[in-house]
């Protein structure tokens, strides 16, 4: 059985696309072969900067001849129907067979699909693959119409068996498939012929091409760590960079160079980022000092001077880059040490979002909220406010302009340089976190206060201007911000009335004070709302104390409608469901807990949901749910039929059976236990007490007919069912649970 070898040689393929492209090549070709009736034993694909290659071993030499029977129209059907059938099968009428079926005679055809040689199939599948290849971005070149990631130069396509190898005949847009390829662009550019995969791999190595990207990556890492080790240094691991660099070279040659003495004082993050982003260098650290002292670069060629000129060139480029970085760093430090004034001022000229004002206005809002949140998270209000004021100052710095990914990191350095307290500096770095679902969550109180205020300001802002995420569109990453708030609250076990913070900040977006007095009044009012809620007497107190005419915006406060706040809180709850789904807590369990008070206290909500989720996994929990639903259904139907609510409380003296009396006792016990457990936020006990009702409820339904003829007893029993409903609902809204 022959083996198939394909190589598509092109101009340089972007490193980031190579892995995906080789996987796609393998899938498209092997799927195509199988669809056409061929089988194969194994397949493997590879990529280098200039080539995609695929080997498929043990391909069947031809596809089998297949005969199938097809049923046509009935005998005597209109001519048109028969003509159509003949056309579809490619047969003539005398080749058909008439067979008796239940409803009369029907024409049958035997259609034979001749097997085809592998070469023919391969040519078809490869052409189709090349023409429809799913590159993330593809292009045309010259005057042609073919699309490829970069100009495609040659196609090698060979079928090899014991008798030797043959080229699969194929031509696409003037490129004729052959049995030749080329070596390294500079070291061995001449074309040469290959006979099969093994020959291909060994020949390539002779002409300075390592085909397998994993082998190149391994060689790079091996040589890099060795070079560093010999100097008692260590290479900082970076898998993404390693894969990228392996995709930039066919023949990796690892070189280690010095970072100029003048630059060793730059922050390590700056060195690392600059070297990685601009030059794809690995950073090499001195484990004794923790400082980055050298770099590793990977060349694509061997030279007579063992890379001396290459290294010298790279070192020179690095010096130029780092002088830029040093220039930024020194300029920035000057501004930072003087208190960052110009940066903060310039943020007043930078628009955050056209309807949400400048970055400066945004920072002022965040600072006010951070101050209000601070006591709730154990932070000093003055420090939290100060931290919020400077946390985004680095956005104006030259370094962050050059390397946006260093935002926050530089903020910390600059806050330290400004002589600000350590908590403030830490918050400058940490307040962006958590960014993703697995990102670390800040724990330092000041950082937590600013992180919460930042995210809540963004969310309330976009809610206030009606820019909510829709479907897959979330251009301002509001889902991520909401998840950030959720994770900050849950990881730090924070007890917040999220509603109040949302109300306060939503209102802030709608108020433009016209004087300093008004601004002070706004801050006082909103501060009280954040602490005690919009309907609290404290807010009234502040408003009542206003002397003279109240500013117009006070109406925003007194007439505040909770629609937008509720909508944002519901958004948090949706994100919470997504977040908890990963922890195995179902959305209906959360819905069951959302019906209970303090739903804006996410920590409480999650505790309750976890306890409910656990109890529902137990046998008692599962059966209690059924018992509850039965009780609830009977009661609901009776209430609808009778037009009354049975909520007067059952009377024990009308109980007829022991089971009924036992249920009375159990409900009394559970009712008390649940309310005291909930009081103590011991949701596990509350849920367990609820589950303890399972046996008495089951026994009750077993022994007793609720809808008896005796109306007094029936009413009493319905009132008893109401007690079940009431007591269970005090723990969780079981009506929301599915199943």
């Amino acid at each position: 059985m022959p083996d198939l070898l394909i190589e598509l040689l092109s101009e340089e393929i972007p490193a980031r696309m190579q892995a995906r492209a080789s996987a796609d090549l393998k899938k498209l070709i092997t799927d195509g072969l199988v669809d056409a009736g061929l089988t194969y034993a194994s397949a493997q694909a590879f990529a280098t900067p200039r080539r995609l290659a695929l080997t498929v071993e043990g391909v069947t030499a031809e596809s089998p001849t297949v005969t199938e029977e097809r049923k046509g129209p009935r005998v005597g059907a209109p001519d048109k129907a028969l003509e159509g059938f003949l056309r579809a099968t490619g047969l003539t009428k005398d080749q058909l067979e008439a067979r008796d079926e239940k409803k009369g005679q029907v024409w049958f055809a035997r259609v034979t699909k001749q097997g085809r040689p592998a070469a023919e199939i391969v040519a078809e599948v490869l052409e189709q693959t090349i023409r429809t290849f799913p590159w993330p971005k593809s292009m045309r070149w010259g005057a042609g119409t073919l699309r490829w990631v970069r100009p495609l130069h040659s196609i090698l396509c060979l079928l090899t068996d014991d008798a030797g190898s043959t080229v699969v005949p194929l031509e696409i847009d003037g490129i004729v498939a052959g049995n030749t390829t080329r070596g390294h662009r500079f070291l061995a550019p001449e074309p040469f012929a290959v006979t099969g995969f093994d020959d291909y791999v060994t020949s390539l190595k002779r002409v300075y091409v390592i085909l397998d990207p994993a082998e190149r990556a391994e060689a790079i890492w091996h040589d890099a760590t060795n070079l560093a080790f010999a100097q008692s240094l260590e290479v900082i691991e970076d898998r993404g960079l390693l894969a990228e660099v392996a995709g930039l070279v066919e023949w990796p040659v690892v070189l280690m160079g010095q970072i100029g003495e003048a630059f060793l004082g730059l922050p390590p993050e700056v060195l690392k980022t600059s070297m990685k982003e601009h030059q794809k260098f690995f950073s090499v650290r001195n484990p004794k000092t923790g400082r980055i002292e050298r770099f590793v670069t990977v060349a694509n060629t061997v030279t007579a001077d063992s890379g001396a000129a290459i290294l010298a060139g790279n070192q020179k480029v690095l010096s130029a880059r780092l002088s830029d970085a040093k220039f930024f760093w020194e300029n920035d430090l000057r501004v930072a040490k003087a208190g960052m004034g110009p940066w903060l001022e310039s943020l007043g000229h930078v628009t955050f979002q056209s309807d949400l004002g400048s970055q400066k206005q945004r920072i002022d809002r965040i600072a006010a909220l951070a101050r209000a949140v601070a006591p709730m998270v154990g932070a000093d209000p003055d420090l939290a406010e100060k931290a919020a004021e400077v946390a985004k100052a680095d956005l104006s710095s030259e370094m962050v302009y050059e390397f946006p990914e260093l935002q926050g990191t530089m903020g910390r350095y600059y806050a330290e340089a400004a002589g600000l307290p350590a908590e403030v500096a830490a918050a400058a770095e940490e307040h962006y976190s958590p960014l993703g679902p697995s990102d670390d969550v800040p724990t330092a109180p000041v950082s937590v206060a600013v992180a919460l205020a930042d995210k809540l300001d963004t969310l309330t802002g976009f809610w206030a201007i009606g820019e909510k995420p829709t479907g897959s569109k979330d251009p301002f990453a509001l889902r991520r911000a909401a998840l950030g708030v959720i994770r900050l609250i849950l990881s730090n076990d924070l007890r917040l009335h999220l509603d109040r913070l949302i109300d306060a900040q939503l209102l802030r977006h709608g108020i433009s004070p016209e004087s300093e007095d008004e601004a002070a009044l706004r801050d006082a009012v909103l501060h009280e709302i954040a602490r005690h809620g919009i309907f609290g007497s404290a807010v009234r107190g502040v408003i009542d104390e206003i002397e003279g005419d109240a500013p117009g915006w006070i109406e925003n406060v007194t007439e505040h409608r909770p629609d937008t706040s509720d909508d944002l809180l519901a958004f948090f709850h949706e994100r919470l469901k997504v977040h908890l789904r990963d922890e195995g807590i179902r959305h209906d369990v959360i819905d069951a807990c959302l019906a209970l008070p303090n739903r804006d206290d996410l920590t409480l909500l999650v505790k309750r949901a976890k306890a409910l989720s656990e109890v529902l996994k137990t046998d008692d929990g599962e059966n209690l749910l059924q018992g509850f639903k039965r009780a609830n259904n009977i009661l609901t139907q009776a209430e609808e039929a009778d037009g009354v609510a049975y909520e007067f409380g059952p009377d024990r003296k009308f109980a007829e059976t022991d089971e009924e009396r036992a249920l009375f006792d159990a409900l009394d016990r559970a009712g008390g236990a649940i309310s005291s457990a909930i009081e103590a936020e011991d949701f596990a006990s509350a849920m367990a007490s609820m589950a303890s009702l399972r046996a008495p409820i089951d026994a009750f339904f077993e022994a007793v007919q609720v809808n008896t003829d005796n109306q007094i007893i029936r009413r009493n029993r319905l009132n008893l069912l109401h007690r079940i409903r009431e007591i269970c609902l005090s723990a969780a809204d079981l009506t929301r649970i599915e199943g």
Binding site: E11, S138, N300, T303, G307, K316, S346
Partner: protein, 309 residues
């Protein structure tokens, strides 16, 4: 390739590129006589990349990037610098080899250096143009931009042009082994009056840096931007047939001049820091709208492939 000696000064690097591309059949054009941000803005690239007519041109283009000014003190950054630009349509199949030949011509020995084609998709939001290609690295330094144009002014490029852009100062500094651009010999060091790059440009770099960053009158610039914008529209609003000569004359180039002006004024305003992030997008969109109209006008010209039906 014969052994090539190293050039001795900046102008020799330029002259060798001119000779090389002339030998390869390019028309050697002269710089466009307007302030542009990059060689691509020269109509010999932007407009000539459109339409079916074949094209092969190479030229030096002085380019201005006001935000890059460093008062002549930074070793590499300049607000005024030179680009060498090559545009060939349709892109020949051996364009990479032709390009590598040009590096050899200026004295880069491929046996000693590490040349790499690193993905860099080119996009010019102001020109409504994009293409795929690479930045070319020599020992880790970007020495050229290599692009296959796919669209210009919102029009598909058919056939595709291959574009090469060399940052001349950086490339020459590398070839000449100079660390600070101002120290680079401009003419031959053994000339009777040897001049360095600094002798020629240190003064202007300082002057323009000051002007770009702190002095340029933003009210005037804003007004000029609006004027260029409306002027472009005004030019294009004229009928194809010139009433005076009775000839069909579509004025794509004069209109495009106004687009170039608008683009440069935007760069100046940007350097003055008066354009916010959101406004930025709006300005870029306005320049792009002009570029698009000019591209549409150009393909209505004979040079742009228009034929009388």
């Amino acid at each position: 390739m014969t052994e090539t000696s190293r050039p001795t000064c900046f102008q020799e690097v330029i002259l060798r590129l001119q000779t090389y591309w002339a030998e390869k059949g390019c028309a050697i054009l002269q710089p466009y006589d307007m302030e542009v941000g990059a060689g691509t803005f020269h109509p010999a690239t932007t407009l000539r990349a459109l339409g079916q007519n074949p094209w092969a041109a190479a030229y030096v283009q002085p380019s201005r990037r006001p935000t890059d000014g460093r008062y002549g003190e930074n070793p590499n950054r300049l607000q005024h610098y030179y680009q060498y630009q090559v545009l060939i349509k349709p892109s020949p199949p051996d364009l990479q080899d032709l390009y590598l030949g040009s590096l050899a011509a200026i004295g880069i020995d491929m046996d000693l250096h590490d040349i790499r084609f690193v993905e860099d998709d080119w996009e010019s939001p102001t020109l409504g143009a994009w293409g795929l290609g690479w930045e070319v690295w020599c020992d880790g330094m970007e020495v050229s931009q290599f692009t296959y144009f796919q669209q210009v002014g919102g029009h598909d490029c058919k056939p595709v042009s291959g574009e090469l852009t060399y940052g001349l100062e950086r490339l020459a500094m590398y070839v000449l082994g100079v660390d600070h651009v101002m120290d680079m010999p401009f003419n031959r060091p053994d000339a009777p009056i040897p001049l360095t790059y600094g002798d020629v440009f240190r003064q202007t770099e300082a002057e323009y840096s000051r002007w770009n960053f702190d002095v340029a009158n933003t009210d005037v610039l804003l007004k000029q931007f609006e004027e260029a914008e409306s002027h472009c529209d005004f030019i294009l609003s004229h009928p194809e047939v010139d009433p005076k000569t009775g000839k069909r004359i579509v004025m794509a180039h004069p209109a495009y001049d106004q687009c170039i002006k608008a683009s440069h004024l935007f760069n100046l305003l940007d350097a003055r820091g008066v354009i916010s992030v959101t406004e930025r997008q709006a300005y870029i969109g306005r320049v792009r709208a002009l570029a698009k109209k000019c591209a549409e006008a150009f393909v209505q010209t004979e040079a742009g492939g228009w034929q009388p039906s």
